[in-house]
Symmetry: C2
Subunit: 267 residues, 2 copies
Amino acid sequence: MPREITAFSNPLIKRVRNLRDKRHRREEGLFLAEGLRILTEASEAGRIPDYLFFARDMANHPLVRALVEATEAAGGEAIETNADILSKLSGKDNPGAVVGVYPEFALGLADLDPGTAPIWLVAERLRDPGNLGTILRTGDAVGAGGLILLDECVDPFSVEAVRASMGALFTVPVAKASWAEFVPWLRNGPGQLVGLSLDTEYDYKAGEYQAPTFLLTGNEAQGMPDFMAQECDLLVKIPMLGKADSLNAAVATAVMAYEVLSRIRDA
Amino acid sequence: MPREITAFSNPLIKRVRNLRDKRHRREEGLFLAEGLRILTEASEAGRIPDYLFFARDMANHPLVRALVEATEAAGGEAIETNADILSKLSGKDNPGAVVGVYPEFALGLADLDPGTAPIWLVAERLRDPGNLGTILRTGDAVGAGGLILLDECVDPFSVEAVRASMGALFTVPVAKASWAEFVPWLRNGPGQLVGLSLDTEYDYKAGEYQAPTFLLTGNEAQGMPDFMAQECDLLVKIPMLGKADSLNAAVATAVMAYEVLSRIRDA
């Protein structure tokens, strides 16, 4: 039976609110996700929250009831609350019906099997949480085996990244690794490393892509460093016809990923 | 000779700071842009600020000097200030060297000539300023004739949209129109209307695209309404291989735009 919390001063509310800060996420090993659709997708992927907050006036919605049951069955706690508290937890003026608190999860490279997917996304020093979430969402759409975050990337468990992923954080494996770990792992298995670069004349449409292709996207402002570009089996460029010299990192990743997907499927 | 402002209480600082709100932008007809690269791109596109704020310790940077000269030559005012004020104006902890205050500009459909570009971007009820800016940035990259904003879209002059556009707001024409204005304008000229839809089985790779193609992207959450879909000459779908049923709107627009561009160039 869910307990009810409606006081802002409740210690659990304060604790959950603090998960919007990276430091508290690290200390607690927990993160926030919000919205009926995203939490339902998480549940279908086997991710059940430790705490589920739901709006009292949505308590009878079938998806809310399913989430409450799944949470309690897994030993978590379902907590009835109101829109003001949900707004405080989610940081949105118009909060969804549910907010979930999940244990963080992160895979290592050893958990990934390159042969299981035709395409993998790799990002290095990604800085923008919205870009990270959007790349995860694209990864889901192209059937990527996972997203590998190299060196110091933004936190995939930040509220902004989770929100932009639209649930893909729960369905696309995310692994963190250093470049020094990544290269031997990559070279010990099948697959080509394809880098998006501004310093090549090689058009992305002219590339030959074989499964599995590892698609490497560099830092938003600087692109990838030379030593990474030199390790790539192929460097390709997306044509830029205007004044700007680059695309948004999540956009460039998606344009490339769909081209690779299409070419591998046609092969 | 630039005057110097270093007091937060200065009325001009307050007035400029207020331009972060849509209501004040409407009242003043002015908007904010920041960063040396974006302001320089604006200047090259013939857009000179009414007010240019620059960091004192960057005063001798050649691009800053060029902006100061261009501003004063055009009858605007260049104002020397410090990082704290620039941070307050831009809303960023690490502000760039310059913030510019520009007069808003907006084209109508009558200012656009469909025959001058192979591809045009059209968005209806776009809600996210980051998406709008990113679509403009993509529009620049694919050589789009412009971005047409249908019905109630988010403000292209918001700080977030300008920032995400990375300067493309100054190089890609933006027009606002109602659907009722758009259709007769479109049908009075050359060009096909291609809609991105989840309700078709027609793969975007199978489409035949002729210049000029008008690429219509629907609202982030709802897609486009039926009456718009029915007006499209072609509805196409980007394949979704995962759990999610849609891509980010700016990502979907870019994947489509590059496909159209490639097909038109190969034709």
